[in-house]
Assembly symmetry: C2
Homo-oligomer: 305 residues x 2
């Protein structure tokens, strides 16, 4: 499926996601002009050298001026201030979107600043790597991953369809749901996994009885899997947990309850309960592989030798 390209699009924030959108938009010929901006002068310089945008603007206002699509690719906590800063420069009829991992807080923070005549349609691509910065982006990041739109009640159907076409052009499959449900779904599929991964890496780091050298050497027993997402961008993840507190607390409560049951089964030597628990978790991985969201190769197909 092809879409009419946008005229100018503006990408605010040129890290992993912003730079990947630029690469993929160029690959898909989704815009006639791609202009980028980043709050960091150093990132702007690196992005200009990398050349994935047609131009890197020196301020956010000139980046978004005349843009038909503006995508904020900044940490969730920065979305409100950035929306406020760019609001006077947005063109009437433009689509304003974002890529934040939390949607209710982004809507709360951005919506008050959106001028009349601008179509604000929040979005979230479920894609990424553990790397950060403008050098980390690549054109295929969104291929076959899901992007979720959370349009507000009364959103313009034509603008929603246009943004959907853009994400499809980037390679994604696209779903829509309300922001509250999005935040709960992502709390279990993304936010809790990151919290748990950060936590176990921290626990291993702090043990006095096992050295860090031992943890590192023998990490192939399972620990190393957790270090990948625990290497993700700290600012992004701080903002996620500050802005999706209720949903994270809910799924974390369930996780703790379930862990207490497993802990008791171990304490009591209840082999039948452990076996039953460890058996039913295989089917989910198979389904994820069948959905094209995971590699079927052993050890993720790693080549580390």
């Amino acid at each position: 499926m092809t879409m009419d390209p946008f005229g100018k699009i503006a990408i605010i924030g040129l890290g992993l996601i912003g730079s990947s959108i630029a690469h993929a938009a160029r690959r898909g010929i989704l815009a006639r002009e791609i202009v980028g901006f980043d709050a960091s002068a150093d990132v702007r310089t690196r992005a200009a050298t990398l050349g994935f945008c047609d131009a890197v603007a020196e301020d956010s206002g000139s980046a978004v001026a005349d843009a038909e699509l503006v995508v904020l690719c900044v940490p969730v906590g920065a979305c409100g201030p950035v929306a406020q800063a760019i609001a006077p420069y947005l063109k009437t009829g433009a689509i304003l979107s974002d890529v934040g991992s939390v949607k209710c807080a982004v809507i709360r923070d951005m919506a008050p600043h959106v001028p009349a005549g601008v179509h604000f349609i929040p979005a979230h691509p479920i894609a990424g790597t553990e790397f950060s910065g403008p050098e980390a982006g690549f054109a295929s990041l969104f291929d076959n991953r899901w992007a979720i739109l959370t349009p507000l009640p009364g959103a313009d159907p034509g603008a929603v369809a246009r943004l959907k076409g853009f994400w499809q052009g980037l390679g994604s499959q696209v779903d829509a749901m309300d922001a509250t449900h999005h935040d709960l779904v992502l709390a279990i599929t993304s936010h809790l996994p990151h919290l748990i991964a950060y936590n176990i890496v921290g626990t291993a780091h702090d043990l006095e009885t096992v050295t860090e050298g031992e943890v590192i050497k023998y990490s192939a027993g399972g620990f190393r899997d957790f270090t990948r997402i625990a290497a993700s961008d700290p600012t992004m993840w701080r903002d996620v947990f500050l802005n999706n507190k209720d949903a994270v607390m809910e799924v974390l409560g369930r996780f703790n309850e379930d862990l207490a049951v497993l802990q008791r089964a171990i304490r009591n030597g209840d082999g039948d309960k452990l076996y039953e628990f460890f058996t039913r978790t295989r089917a989910i991985r198979r389904a994820i592989i069948d959905m094209g969201q995971e590699s079927a190769a052993p050890n993720f197909g790693r080549d580390q030798n």
Copy 2:
């Protein structure tokens, strides 16, 4: 480094690890004859068809008769009964070893059955995949991974050196430590990660407010990483937790304490504490990659599109 090959070696248990030892021993010309046995007639038939052993015996006694090295590749809970069954057939001077993920319990269960003149040297290769069974094995599984020997006090140095040479021949780096320390090290690097992974997959499975279809579709946000080790063999892992209770309880207690601190930081909106916590976990992954125990490629180098 090359070693004089063993004469006959016997591999008891022909799943992922046993079949991989056979493949790697053949590759390295580490034995003149490789005889396998498995308690399951079906596995024996499949192993014979696959052909990674020179012969598949119909009973454990004839498998180990005249063998210079016998390696038990069975779940930890089966090590005692298997040792008892094969004891009368072990050749004087033979090395008896295992590959169990827990060492104190294996020593407790096996040592009473070891005949005088047989060298019992427990071992544990820190290597594996999420797949099980004789079809899952491959020759390079142990390449550049660590194998830990836990010789008992007074173990024969020549026999220990011979087993070390065997594991080096299989591709491993080899360390030695006492069994108690091994069990604590593995509790944090392997057993707790598996418990947490099984648990979070179970929590996601049981949530009423998010469908399993949603968990599967949006798993690329982090959740899918956990499903790999949660797809591991349930019998093996039941036995690990039944047999390393104290060490697992200790590291699980620390994990829970640390998680309570993170939970409180989220509840209180303490962004500085979250940022600090999320920052210090990156260095461990870098060290694991530098040690050759992990892929440096984004997303483990997965190719799932």
